[in-house]
């Protein structure tokens, strides 16, 4: 099941081997530690760049799609993919 969220989130990220990697994010008052980045890709939105990450948090199997946009230099939680 896919749930569209589209809410701004606060993300902590590190830069490793010339790549940005989110390590945790805070959403609706709860902090999620990222245990695995399952996939990532980037696309252009006009003059801006969007970087998408599909991540799994500790203690759950849901996949969170995080989006970083250079337009606002901000992160969004776009969608959640869950079993069932």
């Amino acid at each position: 099941m896919v749930t569209v969220i589209e809410e701004p989130v606060e993300v902590s990220a590190v830069f490793r081997r010339r790549r940005m990697m989110p390590v945790s994010f805070a959403w609706r008052g709860r902090r999620y530690r990222i245990r695995r980045i399952a996939g990532a890709y980037q696309r252009r939105r006009g003059q801006y760049l969007e970087i998408w990450f599909s991540v799994l948090a500790e203690g759950g199997e849901e996949v969170y799609e995080l989006r970083f946009s250079t337009e606002r230099m901000a992160w969004w939680l776009a969608r959640i993919h869950a079993a069932g």
Binding site: V2, G46, Q47
Partner: protein, 454 residues
Amino acid sequence: MVPSTSGGSADGGCRMGDFGMRGLMRARDLPPVPDGCGEGSAGEGERLRYVLHLDMDAYFAAVEQRDHPVYQGTPLVVCHTSSDFCTHGVVATASYEARPYGIKAGMPVWEARARCPRVRMVHADIPRYLYNTRLLVRLCEGYSPACEVFSVDELFLDLTPRLDSGGWEAALGMAREIKARVREELGLSCSVGLGPNKLVAKMASEFEKPDGLTLIRPEQLPEILAPLPVERLVGVGPRLTRRLRGMGIESIGDLAAFPPRVLERRFGVVGRLLHLASRGIDHSPVTVAGTEELLKSFGHSLSLRGGSDDLEELSNTLLGLAEAVTRRMRRQGYLGRTVCLRLRIGYGWGYARSLTLEEHTYSPRAVFQAARSLLEQEAASGKWTEKVTTVGLSVTQLRRIREGRQLSLPEWEDPREERLLESLDRLRDKYGEEVITRASLLGTFSVSGMNLAS
């Protein structure tokens, strides 16, 4: 004799429609058909080529399953749809878990759901797949500069320049290395075929799916091809299969033995292509982007949520399609003269109407106006017993812009549209397709997330 293979279980045959052989052998490549029984085997009297065809396995679904592990191991369908809940539209790709239920690309979403109620459905995320395709192409170009991107999930590589010695064993080694790197670096599996030309390489890649590796050597061709049913020949679709069966041609061997003159009389140029293809002969080169031969048409189509018989809504869809089609034409340097409108009525039947313009054009306005007039005629005809569920627009009778373009009188009098198109194209080239669009298209063409112009 069987082709050399490795990998999983066998899968279905060719997926191409009519005998167009999109990008494969073309009429201009054809040698004359001699009297008698025709030509010998592939590559006779020619320099041997080593051609690789790579086909990603259930590509869109595999990318979704890799990026979203909750979908791994379950039937998954990637849909082309504008519905938030994937209730309409068609299946773009079915995962291997969904295929035992008979679900396949092109099937209406409702039918897929009826065949397997627990199937999971996700929207096609075209930018995500294109990003992965770019990574794949970059990887493969490291093995040969002659890399032809055949579609979003298929490519050809001509390995000949890289195989000074070693022959087929060296080609197999290179193919194994490419497959391993695709798995390691992209986390995806692919099926690879090797052969002396594009036709044979493509057929070879379909022998063993998923994750297969198949080599068909030139000397194996008659024995391997002859027993296969004729529809396994690349480009032979259901209609052509029916016609060939009506002539008593069941297998590729039957086709190879059929007098080429008779085939040519029955099918024209296609008859000659069929004769050569049945013997594994294909002279078409692996074509690097930018050096392609003249294209035949540009087209796009869109499935409509729940269907529509509202002329303004359908017209707006046509406007978006005209924008996308003509943008691609201008980017690739083409003008076109015949505008073709395709409509699907309900989920049953469809038909097409076309109109030829006075002059060649790449103007979205001219293409839209022609399509709109066809649409108005059809709406007034009373043929629509149900709502229109798919609208398609294509432009044919193409020629290159560099061959010259005759300006129509309105363009001489008012060159503003031309200047506007140039400005829009420059903006899109620099900042991306979505940087500017018509306000009337914002709702229609932003929903599905598909970038029609890419």
